[in-house]
Assembly symmetry: C2
Homo-oligomer: 386 residues x 2
DNA sequence: AACGGCGATGTTACCGGTAATATCGGGAAG
DNA sequence: CTTCCCGATATTACCGGTAACATCGCCGTT
């Protein structure tokens, strides 16, 4: 009954093709109703219909006990060559594939990690997810992803409960909002679980953003003669946003520059556009945006107000999206090592899961990339009341 | 031994917090070495250490058989109110959570879908993935994602084998390259599996891109006086790229416009930039790009060649990325319903898995969004040898 | 020749659920 | 007052692996 019949046949849909139809009764060569396995050898003994072969089927075919098969699969050394050969042959003949579900029931190891996000289509989270997934794959794990539509607590709890039931060995959250953090505090996962976030001030991971990246960016602006900076911040309930805001405030203070204003956006280009379009006065010569996309929106708004970048105003982003090099003008930004973050997060989780020593957390890079959106500060601030 | 010790304690890392430490032996109240469950009531009977409660534990605590608990959990009606109450109490007291692994071993239903991609950080695949994951969640499924680093066959096979072993009920591929398609033809998943791709010409799903979207885009250009179009194509081994190329050729022919050239990129802004920067002659007044990002790169290259968009050349994209409205100038493009595609792909897979009737495939939208990157054609083609 | 030891393999138990079948007690029918 | 039936619940089997223990045959020892 869970056995599914051949699905809607003859859908001429190109590019969407069915792989592996179930076996169907055909002209058997043996007794009675012994069906044929799909385009393969006839199944042996007890192995019925299209169901996958188990170690018992293999054992029966090879004339050994199932435990011998299990040992073989685990790479156990002490098996006589002839026995080994029989098992190998049966394995191949039946096209055996281990049932991970059964295995994880006894071993308690599912090799699955839960990943949770509500912003998978944003570049940051999806980049982190991708690299975490790649790292996971290399370690023999897969990521179970569950997305949230909303940020409300009930929805998060529901999603987390779902993940918790799926027998994962660890949980990562990729959207480091406060709602997510609180949800993680509320829920008892019984397994290692944490919110992947930008290395923050009191972190073990040296926050290169705060110690080097942002100072380098601000120093770059200072060198160009800028003294007054407008900061387009990310949403305050994101820890990465607060982190970046703190970093620029510290860096500006250290270098004697003034942050004349902080406008909170939502990471989107639209919010960056709105921030600048709605501005009455712009009493700064440089705009630093907490991410590249808001910088993109800001640059459009500036040009619509008749201000040229970087002649009248310099603009920078943070992240270095692949596209940022092709904005008009190409964006000066801080390259964040998102892929490294994803890998590090998975590595950290793995070390907690497998109990191995948590190896040295790698310093996350934040490298200044200078392009054409920054230039010498103009004599006077562009929109200041003259 | 699979029981993991409390992981590296005292890591002051903020934002990364540990949820749910394992129970540890404490001052028991009963006989011998009965440990205490983490921050909760003392475990009952056989339930040892920090291990999660099973239905047997619950049954024992409630004084009924495990089967009664199972029936209760399945919402079976014929249970006496007092029995029901006992079970409910025990359930709550032990903080019971079902073990999906065990359940799926017997039922054969894992409620897990495999998702495969090597471009998770690209907007298209990640958007599709996100919406598919959301649809999956609503249906009680999770997506197991496995990423590929490369596009080579061996790597794909390995990843597919990994997915196949994880007992998924269906498989989706989100990068519709030929390599992926071929891999899907090679592998026998034993479950429904297909490559999510743009609805293509011979498809059941009406290809709105070909029938309405692209004609609308070309008509828009024709109305502005353009007669010669340069097309920036996607990589030829992507079915969506071929699809888009065919669509514009057909639309141009139908409206009597000429496609003067087709340059193949790799979807990236860098490739769009290179395509235009390397061009000797530009004997077209409009550039249509197979995606928005290549259009972005193309616009930068144009401006570096001293050509203004749209005064000298009109540019369009396809996709309507959220950022496209904030390019300089804002990009005229075809809005593709990627989220709808993801939902539809999951719905299709679900209907195959659950054997329900494949409901009417929804027409996928491709809507023309006119912005400022297109304008009246100039008198003469900009870079033509004069 | 009897025996301890050990390598190779077989048998049984168990993981935590669900499905199928068995049992038990009480009310209606004869 | 029995008998039968049926609803409520308990028992047992099973899913496909792994772990622990049992068995068997052959070897070298004394």
């Amino acid at each position: 009954m869970t056995e599914q019949a051949a699905p809607s046949a003859g859908s001429g849909s190109r590019g969407e093709r069915e792989a592996g139809a179930r076996g169907e009764p055909g002209a058997g060569d043996g007794a009675g109703d012994e069906p044929i396995a799909p385009e393969r050898k006839v199944r042996h003994g007890a192995a019925a219909a299209g169901k996958p072969a188990t170690i018992y089927d293999v054992a029966h075919a090879a004339g050994v006990s199932h435990q011998t098969v299990s040992r073989f699969l685990k790479g156990f050394a002490g098996i006589r060559p002839e026995t080994r050969a029989k098992v190998e042959r049966a394995l191949a003949e039946l096209d055996y594939r281990p049932n991970l579900t059964a295995r994880s029931l006894t071993t308690g190891r599912s090799h699955r990690i839960g990943a949770l996000t509500h912003d998978i289509d944003k570049y940051g989270p999806s980049k982190i997810l991708g690299s975490a997934a790649a790292a996971a794959r290399d370690a023999g794990y897969v990521l179970d992803i569950v997305t949230l539509d909303t940020t409300d607590a009930a929805s998060i709890d529901e999603a987390l409960a779902m993940i918790a039931e799926h027998d994962v060995e660890g949980v990562l959250a990729l959207s480091s909002t406060d709602e997510m953090t609180h949800a993680f505090e509320r829920i008892d996962f019984r397994v290692p679980a944490f919110v992947v976030t930008e290395p923050d001030e009191p972190s073990r991971v040296r926050s290169q953003l705060a110690t080097e990246g942002m100072p380098a960016l601000v120093a770059h602006l200072a060198r160009l003669g800028h003294r007054r900076i407008l900061f387009l911040a990310g949403p305050h309930h994101w820890s990465a946003a607060r982190n970046r805001t703190r970093a620029i405030e510290a860096a500006a203070e250290a270098l004697g520059l003034e942050v004349t204003g902080i406008i909170e956006g939502d990471w989107s280009a639209a919010s960056g556009y709105a921030a600048i379009a709605d501005l009455e006065d712009l009493d700064a010569t440089a705009i630093v945006s907490a991410n590249d996309q808001m910088a993109l929106g800001a640059m459009l708004a500036l040009s619509e107000r008749g201000l040229a970048v970087p002649r009248d105003v310099s603009v920078t982003g943070i992240d270095d999206l692949p596209d940022a090099a092709f904005y008009t003008p190409p964006l000066t930004t801080l390259r964040m090592d998102l892929a490294g973050r994803g890998r590090a997060a998975f590595a950290e989780l793995l070390s907690r899961i497998e109990g191995s020593a948590a190896h040295e957390p790698p310093a996350v890079q934040a490298e200044l990339i200078v392009r054409q959106s920054t230039g010498p500060a103009p004599r006077r601030t562009p929109l200041d009341s003259q």
